[in-house]
């Protein structure tokens, strides 16, 4: 699909202020907000191995350092290694009945590296029991880890102690009598200097690493003998085994395959999931997938006339309604300087039996009246179902420059619901929709081709990229909150990259 959505010419502004193509956005059905990978919580659901498709509990994954115990990758090219069978002659050559013994070795299908290359003996079982190499620094690393763990513990104990002390501060004996702590300590025969408990139960420090000033001489053969690059490992090969960092290829050993994760995404505002994969590692399906692509009308550029500075030109865009509900789309002017936190969060319910021909002006007035969310608001305009935000994120300012004016159409248009069967319907059913012929050029099932007039700014340089923007207001039908579907006006800022400015001719 990337060849369709790949060139990011149409971008939607996420509620966090980042611009993304619609295929990268999520839509929280509880907040009525766009969310993107930047402004949702990423949670690891499960760890699994991509080769053997086995789920591995997170505690086990931690112990195994997020690697699969049974699968290996090639130390030479990082592809997965496969187990191959080699039959060895009968164990007892005199006994004709003894069957040839099967032996197993690891081999890479891609670069043809095999465990025999580095002299790892063939194993007699499929799963191997391949020799694990001991990290030469493991003792030292354990020492350091232990020390830091002890420091953390000491600090925590100190904090708890400090808290206790603070609580009893005003009842302290020394405070009432005016005797200082130091004086008191002296009187009862303790050293006046108070040693900090952290320093007191300081864990035993391991031997510090010593800096060396003397280094080995440069081996002369480096200068005299030609280097055989095939014996030397590449940087990638060395970094694949950071604990060993082999310099020559004969020290490459199979590496346990790193685990993959299944990840669910959670709206930070209302803590609902916007994406949750199925648990089974071999399944690529989702339990929850609130992709914006399924809820927000998709906009695509169809054609644009040559863009000339200061000259009006025609832009045709296609709107597609992905939902099962009819929607009405209106355009609002995009004001980049406006502090418009209210714009995105303000969602007014549209009356169910709202006349489809209701003009935009009237609608705008309605939403304007709802802006100061007072108790005296009309009963038909309710605010978003309030949920205590767990985390409020200040949206950042949109960084996109807009250098092209757009003549905002005053009329709105209707998009019928998506109907999969309509693909095969050639009757050309137009749903008898009364369209503004200046706005809607053509329509078919849930799609409409809309004409917009755009004027690149007159001071633009040749070949500069022309970007225009507008606010799309569409009616979103919510079927989650209650049994009765509720309709909301949802607004999205949309930016279109129209192409480069051409000369005046």
């Amino acid at each position: 699909m990337s060849y369709i959505t790949g060139p990011d010419v149409v971008k939607y502004a996420c509620s966090c202020g980042l611009l993304k193509p619609i295929s990268h956005l999520y839509f929280c059905r509880y907040c009525f907000q766009l969310r993107c990978s930047f402004c949702v919580c990423h949670e690891v659901d499960s760890n699994f191995c991509g080769k053997c498709s086995e789920n591995i509990p997170s505690s086990e994954a931690r112990v195994k350092k997020n690697r699969c115990g049974n699968c290996y990758v090639c130390p030479s090219c990082q592809q997965e290694l496969s187990t191959r069978i080699a039959s060895k002659g009968p164990v007892n050559p005199e006994d004709s009945k003894s069957t040839p013994k099967k032996m197993y070795y690891l081999s890479c299908q891609f670069c043809r590296w095999s465990s025999r290359d580095v002299g790892i003996p063939d194993q007699s079982t499929v799963t191997g029991g391949w020799p694990e190499r001991e990290n030469v620094h493991s003792n030292r690393l354990q020492e350091l880890v232990d020390m830091y763990k002890a420091i953390v513990l000491a600090q925590k104990q100190q904090k708890d102690k400090d808290k206790k002390k603070q609580r009893g501060k005003f009842l302290s004996y020394t405070d009432r009598t005016g005797v200082t702590a130091a004086a008191l300590r002296k009187r009862i025969g303790l050293p006046a200097e108070f040693t900090h408990p952290i320093l007191k139960n300081k864990p035993k420090e391991p031997e510090p690493a010593s800096a060396k000033t003397e280094v080995d001489e440069v081996p002369e053969q480096l200068l005299t003998e030609p280097i055989n690059l095939m014996e030397i490992t590449t940087v990638e090969q060395r970094l694949l085994q950071p604990e060993a960092q082999p310099v020559t290829v004969d020290k490459l050993f199979p590496v346990h395959k790193q685990l993959s994760i299944k990840r669910s995404l959670r709206c930070r505002h209302c803590e609902h999931n916007v994406s949750k994969p199925e648990y089974n590692p071999s399944s690529v399906k989702f339990k929850i997938q609130l992709f914006a692509y399924y809820h927000i009308p998709e906009i695509r550029i169809v054609t644009v006339e040559p863009l000339r500075a200061g000259k009006q030109c025609e832009l045709i865009v296609k709107f597609t309604n992905p939902t099962q509900h009819q929607t009405t789309i209106a355009f609002l002017k995009l004001n980049m300087d406006e502090e418009d936190a209210s714009l995105d969060s303000e969602v007014a319910e549209v009356i169910q039996d709202l006349d489809q021909t209701l003009s935009l002006q009237e609608k705008q007035q309605m939403s304007l009246t709802s802006l100061p969310l007072s108790t005296s608001q009309p009963s038909s305009l309710i605010s978003v179902p309030s949920r205590q935000p767990s985390l409020t994120i200040e949206p950042r300012k949109i960084s996109q420059e807009v250098n092209c004016d757009i003549e905002v159409p005053t009329s709105s248009f209707i998009l019928p619901p998506r109907d999969d069967a309509a693909e095969y319907d050639d009757s050309g059913d137009t749903h008898n929709i009364q369209d503004d012929p200046k706005l809607v050029k053509w329509r078919k099932s849930n799609k409409a081709f809309i004409k917009l007039n755009v004027t690149p700014m007159s001071d633009l340089a040749l070949n500069s990229e022309v970007v225009c923007g507008f606010i799309m207001q569409h009616i979103y039908t919510n079927t989650v909150a209650s049994k009765e579907p509720q309709k909301y006006n949802h607004k999205v800022k949309v930016f279109l990259r129209l192409g480069q400015l051409v000369g005046s001719e």
């Binding site: 891609f110 670069c111 043809r112 290359d117 590449t234």
Partner: protein
């Protein structure tokens, strides 16, 4: 070099549809698939025994520009035995030894001499003038090179199946040479 002079030894399996141009000798046990192309442009091509030449393979005997004007000798492209040319590879090598594998969609230029037991990985382009030593393996998008422990295994099983299957579905060129 307009006249075709194709010599097929007994036991070779050469499909009628394959494009053979120039002076070409095909050894016994060798299988040439229907859409393979072998062009002996600069001089004769001699293909050894039990080579597997798959679909869309192009083997072209073409001299580099700087050697084209030497008229005193006609160079002969000798391809050894048990070489595997996988689907859609292009090989213009001036000399090829035994037991080499040219993986799918690889390209070997006409300045590259291939010795024995080499593997040119899928999609790798080798054009720089060089002699590939024995058991060299070229792989990956960066044409990384390593030395293999052993020659690649023979494709005996695959060749046996093919020699049974292909005559059922394709017209075969009759061997025209006695050993």
């Amino acid at each position: 070099m307009s006249r075709n002079n194709i010599k097929i030894l007994p036991g070779a399996l050469v499909c009628e549809e394959s494009k053979l141009r120039g002076d070409i000798t095909i050894g016994s046990g060798t299988i040439v698939h229907p859409s393979a192309t072998i062009i002996a442009e600069a001089g004769p091509i001699i293909i050894g025994e039990c080579c597997l030449i798959e679909e869309q393979v192009k083997i072209i005997h073409r001299l580099p520009f700087d050697q084209q004007n030497k008229e005193n000798t006609t160079p002969v492209l000798i391809i050894g035995s048990h070489n595997v040319f996988e689907v859609d590879c292009t090989v213009e090598s001036p000399k090829i030894g035994n037991n080499n594998v040219f993986e799918s969609k690889c390209y070997v230029g006409n300045k590259v001499t291939v010795s024995n037991g080499c593997i040119i990985g899928a999609g790798c382009r080798v054009t720089e003038e060089q002699i590939l030593k024995e058991n060299i393996i070229i792989f990956g998008s960066k044409c990384q090179m390593r030395e293999g422990l052993d020659r690649p295994g023979l494709q005996t099983l695959q060749m046996e199946t093919l020699s049974k299957m292909i005559p059922n579905y394709h017209h075969i060129k009759k061997p025209n040479k006695k050993v």
